[in-house]
């Protein structure tokens, strides 16, 4: 049987001899491909989600997965506050590949204006203003998870 597979931005169709001859079969096959977003129905993270822009497969893929995975599963009151070590490792890795990651950083400032700078200026510990927001976010997502 033919099947279709997705790995980030790359798709692979594996076609049997019969299906390869029939364009209609190929189209059906691709349309039937079961796709979902970042969070799989079982609550796990879909690292192949194109929405990650290849982050999970880049040179810092494993560091990214550690950090993002830790954050996703974090049960701390301030979600992700137990993941700072993982973030640090990821950030160190990013700095090793400035040609891959720094340009993303620039884009971000372009797109999001000043918000980035504001956040950077707020010291980590004194981030009280944002805490309530964080909790809101947590609640929202937790609701969805349920």
């Amino acid at each position: 049987m033919s099947y279709c597979k997705r790995d980030g931005k790359d798709k692979s169709l594996f076609l049997t001899r019969e299906d390869a001859k029939d364009p209609e079969n190929i189209k059906t096959l691709v349309e039937d491909e079961e796709t979902y977003g970042l969070i799989a129905p079982d609550g796990s993270i879909n690292w192949d989600c194109p929405c990650l822009g290849g982050m999970a497969n880049g040179p810092c893929g494993s560091e990214f997965k550690e950090a993002f995975g830790c954050f996703h599963y974090s049960k701390e009151e301030m979600k992700g506050s137990d993941c700072l070590e993982q973030f640090k490792v990821m950030q160190e890795c990013f700095q090793k590949y400035p040609e891959v990651y720094s340009k993303y950083g620039e884009d971000e400032e372009d797109e999001e204006g000043n918000s980035d700078k504001e956040n950077n200026e707020i010291p980590k510990e004194a981030n009280n203003n944002n805490d309530s927001n964080n909790n809101d976010d947590n609640n929202n997502v937790n609701d969805e998870d349920k």
């Binding site: 049987m1 597979k5 790995d7 931005k9 790359d10 798709k11 692979s12 169709l13 594996f14 076609l15 049997t16 001899r17 019969e18 390869a20 364009p23 190929i26 189209k27 691709v30 349309e31 491909e33 796709t35 979902y36 977003g37 970042l38 969070i39 129905p41 194109p50 929405c51 990650l52 822009g53 497969n57 040179p59 954050f71 996703h72 979600k79 992700g80 506050s81 700072l84 973030f87 990821m90 950030q91 990013f94 700095q95 990651y101 993303y104 950083g105 971000e108 797109e111 999001e112 950077n120 707020i122 980590k124 981030n127 944002n130 927001n133 964080n134 976010d137 997502v141 969805e144 998870d145």
Partner: protein, 569 residues
């Protein structure tokens, strides 16, 4: 929640991806709702009828030349030779080389019966109508094209190597695999395009001596070897050589090629080398007799071909070949990740110890200078008797300063237009040219067939034509017995791809085994899903179809219809 993640990321000063950032946000916000991404849309179905028959070659030339059947050397451990024969397809090299061969047939210079290659280190004339700087494939193709259009042209080629023009691909390919090692040492091998005859790497032509060139009524092609051009004056139309002699010209081609890059840790003294020219091949081949271990640094075409070649040649001598590179697999900058990893498995099967995903932190040479210890970024130590660094090419653009020519800061190389013109009467082609491709935009290509195609185009235009770059060059590689491919267009693993692979059996989909043994990879541009590159994997002789797919601007939705034009089973 995504916002919170981004915030945590930022508060620890993470450089965050904008593209990833907001899209993660969206995906996270709608976490469990599944987004069905339709990949082939059901409307717009453009059929690709007649795609195989129509010829798109801008040069009637290519169409006229007969593809030579590939007849491989018998008993070679690599079995692809028979495959090509079986399929009646043209081997990749045949396509690249036929251009040059047919050039020979068509030009037939009324050359004097004087000196065969290499010509004596003769006096250099103070004027030649056509001066080609660099003595590689590009200049040779240009010289042939010039003489085709201008049969009495006097062409002076100046190169800094000690050889007349030769073909480089065999240095990392056939010469390591040809079973007659003694012949290979003399740069001989069985070529796909030669009908099984043993050939050598040198291009054949009736080169005349530079000294005689000015006096030949019928003109000719002369090669000055072992000389570097140190300056180019585009206003006075004059070049100066490293021995002080000066040559004036009417038309000039910059075909200076490139110099292998290296890594800072290998810049000192030690058993390190790069690989580009005949002396490099000879030295590395000799090394197999003394070295017990050779480490290849780099996972691209050259590094991977050499790793496989050295492993095959060194197998009986007990030489260990290792390869180290930062990408996830061999040719990781070219192939989609899964295919790249699959290729690495195949390279390992040939006997190479591959260390993918590994950068190099430092290298130290033993006191006697005979061993190198390389420390990788994961702390492993790799010890070798010799290190071959294959990490890319730096285009030779030194002449830009004296010539006051523009260098393309993004792609490197001399910036030329779609007719390969740098400034009045000065063209650039091959590795060193950043040209404007009317279909695919500005780019620079470091491949053998591009040297052919662009050298020829520059040659035509130097005789007064005004042809734009229309014929897409192709490239090919063979990585071990199970991997051979041809490609054309933009082939870059950063682009989105769609791979279409032949499944051998009809086994249940529940236990899929991804089999990348035969198929086609389509490279799409990031915006509109237009097909900008086609790579045929273990399928040969289909580059004309591939070129047409690109020039007709087919898109992702057309793929299901295109599939049948390639035999993937």
């Amino acid at each position: 929640m995504a916002a919170a993640f981004l915030r945590v990321a930022r508060s620890s000063r993470v450089l965050w991806g904008a593209r990833a950032g907001p899209s993660i946000y969206k995906a996270y916000a709608s976490s469990s709702s599944s987004t069905s991404s339709s990949f082939f849309s059901t409307n717009t179905l453009i059929t690709l009828a007649g795609v195989t028959v129509a010829g798109v070659g801008a040069y009637g030339f290519y169409q006229n030349s007969k593809p030579s059947p590939y007849v491989g050397s018998s008993g070679m451990q690599y079995t692809k030779a028979t495959e090509y024969q079986k399929e009646g397809a043209t081997h990749p090299e045949a396509e690249a080389e036929k251009n040059l061969e047919s050039a020979q047939e068509t030009s037939t210079p009324p050359a004097p019966a004087s000196s065969p290659a290499p010509p004596p280190p003769a006096d250099i004339p103070d004027f030649a109508p056509y001066v080609l700087i660099g003595a590689g494939t590009t200049s040779f193709a240009a010289a042939k094209a010039i003489r085709e259009k201008d049969p009495t042209a006097k062409v002076l080629i100046i190169g800094n190597e000690d050889y007349t023009p030769y073909s480089r691909p065999p240095l990392s390919k056939q010469l390591w695999l040809y079973e007659d090692h003694e012949a290979a040492k003399n740069l001989k091998f069985t070529a796909s395009w030669s009908g099984g005859k043993v050939v050598d790497v040198f291009y054949k032509a009736d080169f005349c001596s530079p000294k005689d060139l000015p006096n030949l009524e019928g003109g000719g092609i002369a090669v000055v070897t072992g000389r570097k051009v140190t300056s180019l004056d585009t206003r006075k139309k004059k070049i100066r050589l490293d021995n002080g002699s000066e040559v004036s010209f009417n038309k000039c081609l910059l075909a200076t090629g490139g110099t292998p890059k290296t890594l800072p840790v290998f810049q000192g003294k030690g058993p390190f080398s790069t690989f580009r020219a005949i002396p490099d091949y000879k030295a590395l081949d000799k090394l197999l007799d003394s070295a017990k271990s050779i480490l290849i640094v780099g996972g691209g075409f050259l590094g991977s071909e050499l790793a496989v070649g050295l492993a095959s040649r060194g197998k009986d001598k007990g030489v260990t070949i290792s390869q180290v590179f930062p990408e996830v697999g061999n040719l990781g900058l070219v192939l989609p990740q899964d295919v790249s990893k699959w290729t690495t498995d195949k390279v390992r099967e040939v006997g190479v110890q591959v260390h993918p995903g590994t950068g190099i932190k430092s290298a130290s040479v033993s006191e006697d200078g005979k061993k190198v210890t390389v420390v990788t970024d994961n702390g492993t130590e790799l010890v070798a008797d010799h290190v071959v660094v294959a990490v890319g090419l730096q285009p030779n653009t030194d002449l830009a300063t004296s010539a006051r020519l523009e260098i393309d800061k993004e792609h490197g190389g001399f910036k030329v237009n779609s007719e390969l013109l740098a400034c009045t009467d000065v063209w650039a082609a091959g590795d060193v040219a950043s040209f404007y491709d009317p279909y695919l935009g500005r780019r620079r290509v470091e491949h053998h067939d591009h040297a052919n195609v662009s050298g020829r185009l520059a040659g035509y235009n130097m005789t007064g034509e005004h042809q734009p770059f229309m014929h897409q060059s192709m490239f090919w590689s063979d990585i071990g017995p199970d991997v051979g491919f041809e490609a054309t267009g933009l082939i870059d693993s950063k682009l989105p791809t769609v791979g279409v692979w032949g499944r051998k059996s009809s086994e249940a989909v529940d236990t899929p085994v991804d089999d990348y043994s035969k198929g086609v990879i389509y490279y799409l541009d990031k915006e509109g899903g237009r097909i900008v590159g086609v790579l045929t994997w273990n399928i040969f002789g289909k580059m004309d179809v591939a070129r047409q797919i690109i020039s007709e601007e087919k898109t992702e939705v057309d793929i299901s219809d295109i599939v049948q034009h390639f035999e993937i089973h």
